[in-house]
Subunit: 409 residues, 2 copies
């Protein structure tokens, strides 16, 4: 291979090129991006590979984190059978609540340290997976979970992790995020670190066949929020954008049939939609919607996906002035056509999302789920400090946020 000379940047640096100019209709200059995901295994029956994957990571004894619901459906027993077939020893921790709490992480760490386990395997929804991340983090790095709040506060590597979601939506099995509630402060702490990306993610759509219709509702809106917010993020890049839009498209086409019949084909497509939006948001992050949902969940323990159902359309309206063209792309996927203008297409998409929320029976107003509105100002201050706000396309003060909460009241 020969290379022409004469155009090499000066030795001092390779950062700029004076003849750079856009000829392409893509005028923005890209900055440096990272794109990282776990090894993904997905498809019907992939749960069977749990033991093989754990062994591949050097496991001799596995620390299983799951929850009583997944256990009652029989999946924990099934997992244990699979691990036994591979000759693997394990301990089991199921003390995990919806919106996992700091004290649960602490108890899990004690159990982990006593166990002598060398691989963490989470089997469950976002709560079980985030609890497992918290346990793996504190067990390996010491201190308390709140020491790691924010971005890039983790120094030492975590034990190898195999994550198996029992539903879709959280995508904690892909992401560099963990969200744990600080019970004393009544906030959800967001911890972002690439050490939190599991080594291997196994997504078996069969696991969704034991969910009720009702249990699918919140995950669907969590996934919608991931697809939408990652697409609008200032950190979005071409590799994340296609996955955001693929996720949105699959979610929109398969949610109604999945809720109507719980057929495996549709559930499977929803798991792929989740993977797609998960690949997008772990690399492009999320925005204001997650800041608002975290503040709401921290204060009132509202299910995360329900918070998004309540707030996502309002957040999209707030963000629209800063990203009308991208919002129109979202709108076109949702309504299936482009209207006379970007603004009209974008608004029609938001309205269709609101109709979908009503149609599937989710609450539309905060007053339907909260005891009163006295904590809205406090929640607004909390949301204004949430790290996800840094990657929202439009800046927002606590007063802007309070207006959104009141608007959704």
């Amino acid at each position: 291979m020969a290379v022409s000379s004469g155009r090499m940047p000066s030795r001092g640096g390779v950062r700029s090129c004076t003849n750079s100019r856009s000829k392409t209709g893509d005028p923005r200059t890209m900055s440096i991006h990272k794109f990282t995901i776990p090894e993904l295994i997905f498809g019907r029956g992939s749960l069977d590979y749990a033991g093989v994957c754990a062994k591949q990571l050097g496991a001799s004894k596995i620390f299983i984190v799951s929850d009583p619901g997944v256990e009652a459906a029989g999946w924990v027993d099934r997992l244990m059978d699979i691990l036994r077939q591979e000759g693997l020893d394990f301990v089991y921790c199921n003390d995990v609540a919806q919106n996992p709490k700091d004290y649960q992480v602490k108890k899990g760490v004690e159990l982990y340290r006593q166990s002598g386990a060398d691989v963490v395997l989470a089997l469950g929804g976002g709560s079980a997976m985030d609890a497992a991340k918290g346990i793996a983090l504190v067990a390996s790095n010491g201190g308390e979970i709140k020491d790691y709040e924010g971005a890039n506060q983790v120094k030492d590597p975590l034990p190898p992790m195999v994550f198996i979601p029992s539903t879709m939506g959280s995508e904690s099995n892909i992401s560099q995020f963990a969200v744990v509630t600080d019970v004393e402060r009544r906030i959800k702490m967001t911890i972002i670190s690439r050490t939190l990306v599991p080594n291997i993610s196994i997504t078996d759509p069969n696991l969704l066949t034991t969910l009720s219709r009702e249990l699918l509702l919140a995950p669907l809106f969590d996934a919608l929020a991931h697809a939408v917010e990652s697409y609008l993020s200032p950190l979005a890049n071409p590799l994340t954008e296609v996955q955001s839009l693929k996720g949105l498209d699959l979610l929109w086409r398969h949610s109604r049939p999945a809720l109507a019949t719980l057929a495996l084909d549709d559930l499977e497509q929803l798991t792929v939609a989740g993977l797609s939006s998960g690949i997008a948001f772990t690399n492009a992050s999320v925005g204001l919607g997650h800041a608002l949902a975290h503040a709401l969940g921290g204060m009132y323990d509202v299910v995360h996906g329900i918070s998004h159902a309540l707030l996502l359309p309002s957040v999209m309206r707030y963000n629209m002035p800063e990203c009308e063209a991208k919002m129109a792309v979202i709108g076109r996927i949702i309504i299936g056509e482009r209207l006379e203008s970007d603004a009209a297409t974008a608004v029609a998409g938001i309205e269709a999302l609101e109709r979908f929320r009503e149609e599937i029976g989710l609450p539309a107003r905060l007053r339907e789920v909260l005891p009163d509105n006295t904590m809205l100002p406090k929640m607004s201050h909390n949301a204004a400090k949430d790290i996800c706000l840094l990657t929202n396309p439009r800046s927002a003060t606590w007063k802007d946020i309070l207006n959104i909460y009141y608007g959704a009241w």
Copy 2:
């Protein structure tokens, strides 16, 4: 989280679900897929992170593989400066040819073993990167490179690898593929193993600014072949398909302006196109086009991307009966509209690709690059044994392949 009971598959297995049926217009049943990529870092100036990335992988002494062309452009010196700034020691191997040869891998392994290096860093095109993979593979697993021909023949882990492409197109920096020529047999051996996926890939579009227009031609067709063949592969899944099509779209929109002006903005979009199609093909594999190109390159040392320019349109025509709808999706991206039928759209796309080949000055007939046609039967037999044929949408005997070669003669 609660889970409804009564729909749990029998303990004996989770493979099938009797109530499975398609309600979605996506009738196919997905099988189990793997989706794995290295950590990707990309954008202008990302080369500066080479040392930090190597250290992150535990490097104390780095084995650099590059080639005289990249060296002449000044990039090897620049890299060495960056490594020195991080206090890293290194050795340098630049004995790499276009279509790297088995004896070059052997010499590289000797140098690696003498060096005491602990991380392999490739800086170059597909040849330098595939040579580096071959060296890392034989150095860690012993024997000769030909012992690993085929899929999944590698047992032991390789040394950590940081790969930095100096052009786009091969995407060896992402893929689980390495292709090395067996000089005695005059064939290109394809080695497929997830151990060949580098740990970290750094794509800095600045490196493309020292390429001449002529040196961009072959990589463009290699990338086009990756986008097209990964999309048509039976192993394609929704996560790979979006990246195949994004890659194709970016390639098609930015190739002409990039060739016309070599402006950094367009070169940058081509690197993203390469990453996109690389993410796709490392997970979905490629097909007949690569089998034909390998046989041609092994016999006559033809540049890999030029082989694709010669053969890809013919391969697309051959495959069309098995994948007309997908070929129409490709055609629509290329010609920018859908014609009256899938077949018409697909054919128009292939014809546009042929016109593009002519327009940029690439050969259209095998007779323009080969001394004579006496080896076509032997090449057809070699191509019929190529592992890439297993993931082609339409089966092909050696006689089918000979017909394609004659058709392109």
